[in-house]
């Protein structure tokens, strides 16, 4: 089977959702949706045995073969891991949403269509082997994220958050496209596999570093790295299932995927190692520091997600060191990155769901109003406790294992001797350790401020109670995984992590079996990371106890020096600046636009006429000048002058009529009897129409036109006149191809059986043109009738912005 088509399964399913939502009111639409990720999850799970042995599968669907663009589904360890995350977490989130979103109050049709759209897009991102289709899916995730954040579109904050995430991630996406194009130029292919194969040749290429930076911009904006993370906290306006799914477990990890996927291409570069590790570590530190400041449950989780993404990013950067050094100590980083990515999806997913449950059952997410929920919501508390302790890096939860490996990798960086890491390397473990302390603090802050302590009576909008069973199922499953992975890490490693790591580091391992990393919870008392963890616990506990004393420090940062203020400033500046520029030339006056058009036509035509030597006058081809023609020309000139100079409406109309009749006379002189007849009839009717209409129109006034505007009009008009004269002469003087007229002359009798060539052309050769001409005339007639008859009801204040 062509499994590339499965990427589109969610989109196809989405087509039926509005119908199901409308017709099947009694059943929650989510139950139908649930089948999609579940089936896909089970299907993709069947690939585990093959990727475990280092195998891969490819399925291709041609899209634009001539440009080398196609949909290619390439399933290896890395993309399989992400596909399983997307469909697995997706199933749990859909199940959770069935109980979270009320089927009678919410617009479920929209919600699930967006969600399924996202699912397809995300599967496309992680499976595409073709960078152009990868970019297409990448932007589709941004768009579906935009739609989901703005799901409650009547709220100002939702719309603001949606726009903000869109602006930042689409900016990154465009940069990434630039990187892809440069890669395409360097490697002469859009296939990632082929690019990886020829990667060593790229080093030192002119575009190499530029492509690298552009690609990282895409990854950093999507994965909310410093300083682009600011969109993620505002994205929390989305319904909680969406936050759990897109903004913690899957979409924000697309940037990590990108970095992992392109590691074999770019890891040779010093810039890559520094940027990915450095920005990742900075984000880890920054996010954990500011998570403690937040008072909204989801905001704490948003900053914690930013921080954890930074952690994984820094590990990916550290993993790239293996491309420069064979030392065994560096090999842990990439393994730890993938391991923590899985762990983060499990514990953060469950925490988001718990935050949603608290919100749902108490009516608030403000941590200052919460407290003492432990006895009322014991199950939720247990799951939240498990998730938070895992996030803090404590045993016996999966976060402990990957956190230890992280600390181990950061300590190992000191031993790396290239790229000045021997001088600055000491900063890495220090920053990592401080960030871990804050991670510990916010994990405790999240769970204990919500569930422990005294209940604050009367502060909650509604009486709290435990969530319904259905809503608890998904977080409990994730909680069980959090504990389960701690006890069977090496099985998970064998099934999922090692195949993914082998895909990222083809230089080290030819197949997953080569990876000789064994995860263990206990390394003995001599291990550095054990003592680092102990330090984290002690300092973190002290900080948490004294939290109320120092939390006020955050208030010292003035709001106008924050990154958010920078974003807001840039947005309003560009809006105002663009407005000013467009106001400058878009005056709203038809005259201005007409001047642009006429001036452009005459300048463009004149320039072409003279630069291309197109201006030719062939005096010999001219017909001789007849007396009648001259007299008629004089009449026409006089009539035109009358139209221009007349002070009254009637004179102007009559002069216009005179112009028309003298044109008719010209038709007579130039042997065009049909034209002359038509022109005479039409001109007569026109004059009558003018007289009829002018009765209802005001007298001719110049409305205070100054000499200057008249001069401008005159210059433009003369310019157009001269242009047309020159074009008329050139067009007549040089015939590049013979006229088709001879064909008509020859065949009019034999083919069409007529004598009057003009008439036969109109009704026979060009019959359809005449038909359309009649259609145009009818449309004009309907328009005329409509405008005369139609009387729109006058509405005051019909402007919705007022």
């Amino acid at each position: 089977m062509e499994f590339v088509l499965l990427i589109f399964l969610p989109i196809v399913a989405a087509l039926f959702i509005p119908f199901l939502f409308k017709r099947m009111k009694r059943i929650h639409t989510g139950w139908f949706v649930l089948a999609v990720p579940l089936v896909l999850f089970l299907y993709y799970a069947t690939y585990i045995p093959s990727t475990m042995d280092g195998g891969h599968a490819i399925s291709e669907l041609q899209w634009i073969p001539s440009l080398g663009i196609s949909f290619v589904s390439y399933i290896d360890g890395l993309s399989l891991l992400f596909s399983l995350l997307i469909t697995g977490i997706g199933s749990l989130v859909v199940l959770y949403s069935i109980f979270y979103l009320d089927k009678n109050k919410e617009k479920l049709g929209n919600f699930y269509v967006y969600l399924l759209l996202f699912m397809s897009a995300m599967l496309g991102v992680v499976q595409s082997d073709n960078v152009i289709s990868l970019y297409l899916f990448w932007e589709l995730t941004s768009i579906s994220s935009f739609l989901l954040i703005g799901y409650w579109y009547t709220r100002d904050r939702s719309r603001f958050g949606a726009l903000k995430s869109m602006m930042i991630t689409v900016f990154g996406g465009l940069m990434m496209l630039g990187g892809f194009v440069l890669l395409g130029i360097m490697g002469d292919t859009y296939s990632i596999r082929e690019l990886i194969a020829s990667a060593p040749d790229f080093v030192g290429h002119d575009y190499f570093t530029l492509a690298l930076v552009l690609l990282l911009l895409g990854a950093f904006t999507k994965s909310a790295q410093f300083p682009f993370y600011i969109w993620l906290p505002d994205a929390m306006e989305a319904p909680t299932p969406v936050s759990a799914y897109l903004h913690s477990a899957t979409m924000v990890k697309a940037g990590l995927y990108l970095v992992a996927r392109f590691t074999p291409i770019f890891a040779f570069s010093e810039v890559w190692v520094w940027l990915v590790t450095g920005i990742g570590l900075l984000t880890l530190f920054w996010g954990s520091l500011f998570a403690v400041k937040q008072t909204d449950l989801k905001a704490i989780l948003a900053f914690s997600t930013v921080s954890q993404l930074g952690l994984i990013m820094s590990l990916l950067g550290a993993g790239a060191i293996t491309f420069h050094s064979d030392d065994a100590v560096f090999k842990f980083a990439m393994f730890a990155a993938i391991f923590h990515l899985i762990n983060h999806a499990t514990f953060k997913g469950s925490l988001f769901m718990i935050a949603g449950i608290v919100d749902h059952e108490t009516g608030t997410r403000d941590i200052r109003k919460l407290g003492g929920l432990m006895s009322i919501m014991p199950v939720s508390f247990s799951v939240a406790f498990i998730g938070s302790m895992s996030m803090a890096g404590l045993p016996p939860f999966n976060g402990f294992l990957s956190k230890e490996m992280f600390l181990q990798s950061m300590v190992a960086i000191r031993q790396f001797e290239l790229f000045q890491f021997d001088t600055w390397g000491i900063l890495f473990p220090v920053i990592a350790w401080i960030a871990s302390v804050f991670t510990f603090v916010y994990s405790f802050y999240f769970v204990f401020r919500t569930f422990a302590g005294k209940r604050k009576e009367g502060q909650l909008p509604q009486e709290p109670h435990e969530a319904p069973v259905g809503m608890l199922v998904s977080p409990i499953i994730l909680g069980v995984l959090v504990v389960g992975i701690f006890f069977i890490p090496n099985l998970v490693a064998k099934w999922l992590i090692k195949p993914a790591v082998a895909a990222i580091q083809p230089n080290l391992y030819s197949q997953p079996g080569d990876i000789d990393i064994h995860v263990a919870a206990w390394h003995g008392f001599k291990s550095v990371e054990l003592w680092l963890t102990v330090g984290v616990i002690i300092v973190g506990a002290l900080l948490f106890i004294s939290l109320s004393k120092w939390q006020k420090v955050y208030g010292l940062q003035p709001a106008k020096f924050s990154l958010n203020a920078l974003y807001d400033g840039m947005m309003s500046f560009s809006e105002k600046g663009m407005n000013r520029i467009s106001r400058f030339y878009m005056t709203g006056l038809i005259r201005t636009y007409m001047i642009y058009i006429f001036a452009f036509i005459s300048v463009a035509v004149l320039v072409i006429l003279f630069t291309q030597d197109a201006f030719v006058v062939d005096m010999d081809s001219f017909a001789h000048i007849g007396v009648y023609s001259v007299i008629n020309a004089v009449i026409l000139l006089l009539a035109v002058c009358f139209v221009l100079l007349s002070k009254t409406r009637l004179a102007a109309i009559i002069a216009l009529g005179a112009v028309g009749y003298s044109v008719a006379l010209f038709f007579v002189i130039f042997k065009a009897p049909d034209l002359a007849l038509t022109q005479l009839v039409i001109e007569t009717v026109s004059v009558a129409l003018f007289l009829l209409a002018f009765k209802h129109l005001p007298a001719l006034k110049d409305h205070g036109e100054t000499v200057k505007t008249k001069m401008t009009n005159g210059i433009v008009a003369i310019g157009v006149g001269i242009t047309v004269t020159l074009v008329a002469l050139s067009a007549h003087s040089q015939k590049l191809i013979p006229s088709i007229a001879q064909y008509y002359k020859d065949t009019v009798k034999t083919e069409a059986g007529g004598g009057n060539i003009v008439n036969v052309i109109l009704v026979d050769y060009r019959g359809f043109d005449t038909l359309f001409e009649i259609a145009v005339l009818s449309i004009a007639g309907i328009g005329v009738l409509g405008m005369i008859k139609l009387r729109l009801g006058r509405k005051e204040n019909s402007d919705e912005n007022k």
Binding site: A633, A672, D674, A693, E705, A717, G721, V724, S739, N801
Partner: protein
Amino acid sequence: MELLMAILIGVLFTAAVYLILSRSLLKVILGTGLLSHGAHLLILTMGGLGGSAPPVLDKEATNFADPLPQALILTAIVISFGVTAFMLVLAYRTYGEHKTDNMNLMRGNDEHD
């Protein structure tokens, strides 16, 4: 002859553009009328003005005027009539609704542009 006609067409176009750029709605419509006349003569002139007989098959005549521009113009005349009629009624209705024929006053307000 073509030279004379080319100049005449230039004059027609100049007058038409000048009127279209003016502030009075009536003059704009007059301008479009002149523009279509200019365009018709332009098509005719570009094809060449020679030809001693109308393009009707006849035993004696051999030197026809070019029939193709004439066919084009015939269509154009009718269409331009439709446009003129439409513009006239549009002006009539606009004046009825807004009580002005000043083009400078006919612009979207600041919220709408």
